[in-house]
């Protein structure tokens, strides 16, 4: 007992090491879910499954939506999350989030769905003018969204004031 004990080397190891995590996708997924709760679809869209589609890769937003929201409900409609990697796969959806890598095909998609009540959510500067009802933007360091009310109306979608009040920009 006369000598000093030696401190174990484990104490110098990192406590809770982790890899870089995708911290942007959960925020977007949560916004998309909230859009679903704060927008009214026409009556013919209020039956059956509530489909949220992601056009783009399976990682990120799609994975977050799938694990956190599939099986939950919007009103009486069960949420289904679908992933589309090509525009030909896309059929009826309540919300279609077009990932930035697929933005270039958005105009043709928009015209294909012009008579549908699909809420198009994009993530590309200037896309509110190209037909999107909601566009994700970054302001400062914060994830925000902007709304084009006219584009929403074209698809017979009614956006709640609560959502409009939180938008960084609203185009009438």
């Amino acid at each position: 007992m006369l000598a000093a004990f030696i401190l174990s080397s484990w104490a110098m190891l990192p406590p809770d090491q982790t890899q870089m995590r995708d911290t942007r996708s959960p925020v977007k997924a949560l916004y998309l879910y909230n859009f679903a709760t704060l927008i009214d679809w026409p009556s013919e869209y209020r039956k059956g499954k509530f489909v949220i589609g992601v056009y783009g890769t399976k990682e990120g937003v799609y994975e977050n939506l799938k694990t956190k929201y599939e099986g939950r409900s919007i009103g009486s409609q069960e949420i289904v999350i679908r992933n589309f990697t090509s525009s030909s796969q896309i059929d009826r959806a309540h919300i279609l989030y077009v990932t930035p890598t697929k933005s270039s095909s958005f105009p043709s998609l928009e015209s294909k769905f012009k008579n549908e009540s699909t809420l198009f959510v994009t993530e590309k500067e200037g896309y509110l003018n190209k037909g999107a009802a909601i566009n994700f933007v970054v302001m400062g360091t914060s994830q925000k969204f902007e709304i084009n009310k006219t584009n929403a109306k074209k698809h017979k979608l009614i956006i709640a004031d609560r959502l409009l009040n939180l938008a960084s920009k609203v185009v009438e």
Binding site: S8, A11, T18, R21, Y31, T57
Partner: protein, 336 residues
């Protein structure tokens, strides 16, 4: 060996003293030699209320006896031992036993340090810290007021900080936050002594990054829309807090992929695309050979293919290779 030599010196001195009226001390010494420490204690406590109390060796022996009584029902035996050695030193006005008494004291006081290490090994950091503070306090008071504890502090507080963070990893909620605060506090104490040590910088940085990322990853899926920016802001404050430590760690070791990953993660979470891309590029350059090797082993590994697509599209920008891997992935996915 040195301690045994010292004890023998006391014994010889006590034998010599016996004829000069050191009755209780000699008796105590006999019991001590026979390892009957209770008997030794009775005699030595009688010695210190007799004329023998003026003899430094009596107190030295008392210190040794009480040190042996540590762990018995006698409360505070270690403190009594230390006080006895101090008294022995006070009586040794000529300094004949100075070195010997100092060694006795050092070897007794070091037991507080050992307590601190054992408590840490047993996952009791609060208790450990108390013991370490006692060790330092007593060492300064009785051995050397000017002793430089820098090296010891760095080693000990690094271990203490590590233990708190280790315990935090297995905790939840408020308790987790409390443990993290303590861990970070002790790591910062280490950095106050020497800011160029890699591990505390990395551990503090990664802890803040994880805390921020956890806030986002563990958001309640039904969080109200008004709450989202508030959570985002909280997480970003933690990323901002992490960055100075991570940058320092990166300066100290530029090859550590985990450091670059954490810096990249902070900038990503802060929506700072310029810096994010700078560090993501560094990371991708380091990871590319590993990814290509993995793809060689498994040409249909979709995770690797997606990573390569991202790399050639966003950071190392190579249109041809991007197309090649993109088409490869599409072919695999369309065949599923």
């Amino acid at each position: 060996m040195k301690a045994i030599k010292h004890i023998l010196v006391i014994m010889l001195a006590l034998l010599a003293c016996n004829s000069y009226g050191q009755y209780y001390t000699s008796k105590a010494n006999e019991c001590y030699k026979q390892k009957d420490y209770e008997c030794a204690q009775n005699y030595i406590d009688s010695a210190i209320v007799s004329n023998e109390r003026f003899n430094s060796q009596t107190w030295q022996l008392r210190g040794l006896i009480y040190r042996k009584l540590e762990g018995s029902e006698i409360k505070d035996a270690r403190n009594i031992s230390i006080e006895s050695f101090v008294q022995a030193r006070n009586l040794d006005t000529a300094g004949v036993y100075e070195e010997q008494i100092t060694n006795f004291l050092r070897n007794t006081i070091i037991r507080y340090y050992n307590d601190a290490v054992v408590a840490l090994d047993n996952g009791m950091p609060d208790q450990s810290e108390n013991a370490y503070v006692l060790y330092k306090g007593k060492y300064k008071k009785y051995i050397s007021a000017d002793y430089d504890f820098t090296k010891s502090d760095i080693e000990y507080y690094s271990a203490l900080g590590g233990e708190y963070l280790k315990q935090a990893a297995g905790s939840q909620g408020e308790e987790k936050n409390k443990l993290i605060s303590k861990g970070v506090h002790f790591y910062k104490m280490v950095l106050d002594q020497d800011s160029t040590i890699f591990q505390p910088n990395f551990n503090i940085g990664i802890t803040f990054y994880n805390q921020g990322a956890d806030l986002i990853m563990n958001m309640d899926p039904l969080t109200e829309i008004e709450e989202i920016p508030i959570i985002e802001e909280k997480a970003q404050n933690l990323f901002r807090k992490a960055l100075p430590f991570l940058h320092r760690a990166y300066k100290l070791d530029k090859d550590r992929i985990d450091v670059i990953e954490a810096i990249t993660g902070c900038y990503y979470g802060l929506q700072d695309n310029e810096n994010y891309l700078e560090y993501q590029t560094i990371l991708d350059k380091k990871n590319l050979p590993i990814l290509l090797e993995k793809l060689k082993d498994n040409p249909t590994d979709k995770t690797v293919l997606r990573e390569l697509i991202r790399i050639y599209r966003d950071t190392l920008k190579d249109e041809e290779k991007y197309k090649e891997y993109y088409e490869r992935l599409e072919r695999i996915e369309s065949n599923e």
